[in-house]
Symmetry: C2
Subunit: 202 residues, 2 copies
DNA sequence: CATGGTAAGCGTACGCTGTAAACATAGATT
DNA sequence: AATCTATGTTTACAGCGTACGCTTACCATG
């Protein structure tokens, strides 16, 4: 591994281990972003991280475990992004929705990673579940506030999922190349969210 | 290959070729359904189809080509399902939406196949694009009718995508395991589509 | 200080994968 | 009868995830 050429074996503190895991996740994410899903293999990861093919297995039991960690990281980045918006002074509903869409547009590889349909059994990874829950919580926060403020009517949890599903649906259709050039994405997003807001008004 | 033990070589008519392709797609779909994405390989396909591993390459240039054909089949099945509903006497908006959801629930493997985010460049497969367009057309038909009947207001194409994205968003969240036990899917679906209908009413 | 246990990392190897290439076969065409 | 050609098989290869065993060097104990 050799993070600073010092300490070649044994005695890795917990922080060290976490730092190495973090670094491996970073490299894995970069590989995903740069070369797509197919450009990522444990061997490619090892090459890029400058270690032997089996080294990563000291930190992640399987490739799937590593990918779960990478997804958890992505969720945390998404949650951070959303939080940084809602903490600002402008907290209109649209700002959060736009921030969510922007994250997906600017980090398509990570968004794919988070929501790809072919990932098995996320429940086995508490870290992942937790990160996903936090992201969802951020998404739902503004919906909750609007219900409490009497702007929207209904169960805040139900409404949260409804808004999320709608935005997410548009994004995945776009990422899967199922949306045409016209009507453009912005139009669809505005129409969908506007209709939802009107239809759910208190 | 030997589909009925007759004709071992040469002289496969165009229909024959198409029949073999069809059979390979069927076996591939079954493998997907039964053993998940990982249970499918060209070798597994060959074993299940009773031919040598390379035989399928006479009918599909690459694995990706074969998968594109499998997806096109799935789209056609979806379109057939939707058409069979709208042709009946009951053609309330909900019937189509419910038929769509039911297809996804009863054929999760095929739905995944159609909409997985990691499929590259569908535009290269005209057959696929065509099948996808037909399915979308079926989805949009009832929206168009409602706009024409003056029930909904707006650009029918925009509205079609909006309804589609909303239902699709709910489905992929469910397939990706991102939805909780409560509120249940039916509640979310009703809330979302009800709100859209209200918000888009003429 | 010597020693043995143990954790870190490496190299090798196995059984998969997709598929390129060479080959065999048997009807159709000449 | 000889040749051509579409079909399918066999063989081969590079790359994959990862199981396994080896070496190395630290640390706790004698």
């Amino acid at each position: 591994m050799s993070e600073t050429a010092v300490r070649k074996t044994r005695a890795r503190s917990a922080e060290d281990r976490e730092a190495v895991r973090e670094r491996l996740c970073q490299v894995a994410t970069r590989l995903f972003v740069e070369h797509g899903e197919m450009g990522f293999s444990m061997r490619a990861l090892a090459t890029d991280a400058g270690c032997s093919p089996m080294a990563a297995y000291r930190y992640f039991e399987t490739k799937e475990d590593l990918l779960a960690a990478v997804r958890a990281r992505a969720y945390r980045r998404l949650a951070d992004t959303l939080e940084s918006v809602s903490d600002g002074e402008r907290r209109k509903a649209r700002d959060i929705g736009e921030a969510y869409v922007r994250f997906a547009e600017q980090n398509p590889a990570e968004y794919r990673l988070m929501f790809d349909l072919s990932q098995p059994d996320d429940a086995r990874y508490p870290e992942l579940s937790e990160a996903a829950a936090r992201a969802r919580w951020c998404m739902n926060k503004y919906v909750r506030e609007m219900v409490e403020a009497g702007v929207l009517a209904g169960d805040p949890e139900v409404l949260g999922y409804v808004f999320w599903a709608t935005i997410h649906g548009l994004i995945v259709l776009k990422l899967a190349g199922r949306l045409p050039a016209t009507p453009d994405f912005e139009t669809l997003r505005r129409t969908a969210l506007g209709a939802l807001m009107r239809g759910l008004r208190a």
